[in-house]
Symmetry: D2
Subunit: 370 residues, 4 copies
């Protein structure tokens, strides 16, 4: 029961708070069963994934985010009470952003946010609309992944397209596991990764930015997870992915290409392998009628090129109601895809944890003891 838009989930409920240049960014995870082994280090690992180690392709702002656990963990285990964690904002330089108060940046939420909140919103660094809030996704994802791990569910996201560079080979699971975080752009195909990095650096040098596509696979999701009609699994994953800043498209399995296939090509026929029912293909991306099919969940998200670019752009001065030119200063990512990869992974994990609870497969009480 919750109208305000800062919470998501029905049983594994994530509420996020904090602004880019406020005191902190935090998250509450409510509904996590008691008895899950969980430490500050589990959060720290996830949060650090967010920032690729190669500084040349990310913005120069490098928060040294140290996660603090404020509530919900006792003697190393979750207690069943809401888990609250946060990172303090240390590096925010708000003066960089004073200019955006009246001159909305193209491609950003500045203008609609000003209208929506009557000018009272914290516009510094984009406030609630900053990519900085994705730290909350990472912290929630840390809990979700730990929980899903008890059920052998593994969620893996990775870049498959940046600018004009596409991964052309079929990626193996082992390759994804091994390579994704070994390179700055989080692409498991190391050849493509190199080319992607160059594409990003080129855009950076031009004062411009590029976008890309992130793919995410979830292994070992049992059959029948999802709540049709209106809380279907794919719908909830899509919703969460569109909540990730800069995502403009989401597709499952063959996705938009399914439009051009025949039913006989697109249907995944069933067979028995090793005494188990399997589908011989996975054009459905692991979801049928809003329910998991037992095949890997396979979803892709289109990430737009970073809106903040240093090139001059037309905009309007809202205080004078006249056209003007903006040149965005400060630290910006020439490509948001490398940061989006772990965020999307966390986002999918959060939805799966929620739906596994909804389906009653994850019990609501203490994993270890009961």
């Amino acid at each position: 029961m919750l109208l305000a838009g800062n919470s998501v989930g029905k049983e594994f409920v994530v509420t996020c708070f904090g602004e880019s240049h406020g005191r902190c960014v935090g998250v509450i995870v409510d509904g996590c069963p008691a008895g899950l082994l969980l430490s500050e280090q589990d959060f720290q690992i996830e949060v650090e994934k967010r920032i690729p180690p190669q500084p040349e392709i990310v913005s120069e702002r490098r928060e040294k985010d140290i996660v603090e656990v404020l509530a919900g963990i006792f003697n190393g285990f979750t207690t069943g009470a809401p888990i609250c964690t946060l990172v303090w904002n240390k590096e925010a330089i708000s003066t960089d952003y004073e200019q955006i108060k009246d001159t909305p940046r193209p491609g950003h939420a500045d203008y609609p946010a000003r209208i929506k909140y009557g000018g009272f919103n914290d516009y510094r660094g984009g406030g609630r609309f900053s990519g900085r809030t994705t730290v909350a996704f990472m912290m929630a994802g840390a809990v979700a992944k730990k929980l899903l791990g008890l059920f052998n569910i593994e969620v893996l996201a990775y870049a498959i397209e940046i600018g004009e560079v596409k991964v052309k080979k079929k990626l193996k699971l082992e390759e994804i596991r091994r390579n994704t975080y070994k390179n700055a752009v989080r692409c498991p195909d190391l050849e493509s990764a190199k080319a992607m990095k160059e594409t990003i650096l080129k855009a950076k040098n031009e004062g411009d930015s590029v976008g890309g596509i992130v793919e995410c696979v979830a292994m070992n999701v049992p059959v029948g997870v999802g709540e049709p009609i209106f809380d279907s699994l794919d719908a909830d994953i899509a919703k969460m992915l569109f909540d990730v800043p800069a995502v403009k498209g989401v597709e499952f399995g063959t996705g938009f290409k399914a439009a051009q296939l025949k039913g006989s090509e697109n249907n995944d026929v069933y067979a028995i392998r090793g005494g188990k029912i399997v589908a011989l293909t996975n054009n459905a991306g692991g979801v049928l009628g809003g329910l998991s099919s037992g095949m890997p969940i396979l979803v892709r998200a289109a990430v737009k090129p970073t809106s903040s670019i240093s090139k001059e752009q037309k905009t309007v001065d809202l205080s004078k109601m006249e056209e003007t030119i903006i040149q965005i200063r400060g630290r910006h990512d020439p490509c948001i895809v490398p940061k989006a990869v772990p965020v999307i992974e966390s986002a999918v994990a959060v939805v799966l944890a929620d739906h596994m609870l909804q389906a009653g497969i994850i019990p609501k009480v203490s994993q270890e003891q009961k």
Copy 2:
């Protein structure tokens, strides 16, 4: 507050009930303000849009759906109480579907539904997973559209791609309004419409099916509608569209193509026209940071080829746990896109009505009197 998955919306709350071969398909719309002029005829018009008049391209089952209003309307106006409407199922021939009890149809929810519900689900005609339940979307859409109409918001969906036929010209708004429902495939470009129809008939003759892409535009949505971070406008529209059967992808504005654009190309720069702030392009599809930007909302949904085809397909017999062949009998649409067009239109309208209420732009009480 509502866990079970058959409701959607926070203020304009739609709950759907009924099965394909049960007694009826119905809907409850709760949260519609009192004082909206609304008649049974308003529902009837929308429900009839669902079935294209040309029988050759749709399934031969043609329910003559007559909407009955059970509650929530008094003296021709909404009362503020929940509105309940339904259509009775008359034509269902359940014997057609007895075979699917144990042999799940590829591409359908039969198998995961059986697992999820332990075999207790109503499998006849797909039960809750049948396209028949989209009648509920239409009835809810009828209320939403009437409500949005008071604010000059117009929602228009139409086919832009079926099989290999794509609309190549830029569609004008007038053309969309005038042509969409003048042809069987609901494509405003009449040239393309002809080719699409042929593509469908060809697939039908082969015992196969084709998919397509539906585009939807919403005009005059005010700036600042949407509830970030987790109930952003695009996220909620996407969620609702993935709840429409057969949708496998959703994108806004340039969508997946944004991956290949530069920031300087993709950003929509602001200008002043006629004293008003406008964006000179609409690559964002009318949504920035989860809020409406004041530009038209522009969204596309990929619809997979109909899963039910008459061609033989491999499957398994769940009662014997052995592989087998299924040939789906009964009445099936060779292409679901023409039916999906009005359903997607309704789906988007429902989300907009909900968000306009959430944003406080639609007042909660009596339009006419207060």
Copy 3:
């Protein structure tokens, strides 16, 4: 997720629709696990409990309510889909109520409803505010009780006070089971029941009404049911009871009398009996810190005297804004307690079913098969 006020529950979600003098009163129960044996007869039995058989103490309107199941049951079992049932309104005589349009009845919702809904509410017979809507409680209760029965949970409500007549003896469980529905006022103490009936008839003869107190006990609720802090078991039961028309007070265990006890008197001390932990008293009414304690849930609700009386009363004419006198015609109950008894029983059962699901004690999937 659901703002509008016509739904209750988080996992066992009850949505009610229909008006006193509209076409029907109906209910949707969403979230009931698949695989529960449930028939139209189960609903019918509960709905018929609502009307005491002795016509002299209830209103003369005697709907012959026949429950119809519209959705959610297949082959005699719940399917996991929303269950929709309704009763049609047959006897409504709307002309009786035309006078209340402008002259609000004291003690009724007429005046605030008119203001809230800007005059668009269906005022006939009180519309949504009529006791008639409690049929929905009964139908939802039928599902809840069947579900709770699988876990040996028994919910029993009964009158303990009507007007100035109080039950003074301690009631035994067997007596409650045996006697409650054997008498018109639903009081298990047959001596008191007689006196209560006379009190009601006396009030009726005077054109007046009386109130009373209903007690409800729930046996065998396991320890630890409830979701603190804000969805505690007692809070949710209390909320549901205040949603029953005419309830003005709710208390658990010693309730208001606890105010005058010492801690050492009021605390229920623990002991071991037959290898099990028990409390030696039940002053807490079975709830500690919002969680069930393992002792019987014991709750009482104060029911006000029926607002509709035939005696003349002062009121105002809203159309003329002048004071006037109203004499309520039509059929009214001189005491609503006998009808409230089964409604309160259903209300408590609904909350318990919801919380047993929330606690993960009732599994979400098929009772029989999985």
Copy 4:
């Protein structure tokens, strides 16, 4: 949309976190409109009301709670983003509570909590079940009261009964405003206050405790606030009050005494005074059919005697499954009523803020500017 039990409200959504002996107790208020003038001082004033200044009648633990605002306020105004505030726990002495791990205190949630959470709950000081969490009520109440103040709504709670001492005179509004916080027990009748204090001290000296009754009045709530059937105003207030630790009964207006009145006595008849419609009495306590009637909301809550007493009590040792004796050490309030007074006031304010938003009377956007 939110299953887990640590949130309440639909539009003014309060989520609370933290444990008695953890790092902090905090709260998130989501849904407060942007543009409300709100400072740390506003929170501080409310939080300090919680602890009566006379140390002899409260526990000796005296947290010096300093509220920190972590998010949602910018330049002195609310931003429309979630407001997060907390107080750090400084004085917690956990060793006091080690004994309760295995020997549940009578009247506390220790035993059911242990069962519910499989022993993983933070039992120190009662953890989530401690009265310490009511700091969160106070912080949420600070926002609610500020918001309600814009609409001239005033919420006032005060003790009317402690142990055997009852306020017998009719309290005037001015007296309530002037006297409540002038005395340790928060009773506006200073004569009674003195006797109440003595009653408390007597219980304290006996190693025992006493309970009481808190009354709360809300002035100037407009007509028609509340969402029937299931989110009626009285139901939501009652729910929130039962979430306040130690509350065992709630009644509106004449409450339980209504059971003994005739309808003609209990109905509040309407009249016109100064051109406005008023009721000549307020037996309904300001709520009719779940909607505010325009009269003051009048509600009473029964508070049980503090469960923690220093007298020896029987209990069981859960680790050995044998009966034993517990003597609770540490700091305990001999009467919780004085602390409950401001908490109940805050609780009612939170529900009213939520319902005023739900009714659309408080606009969702910026008070000052829009």
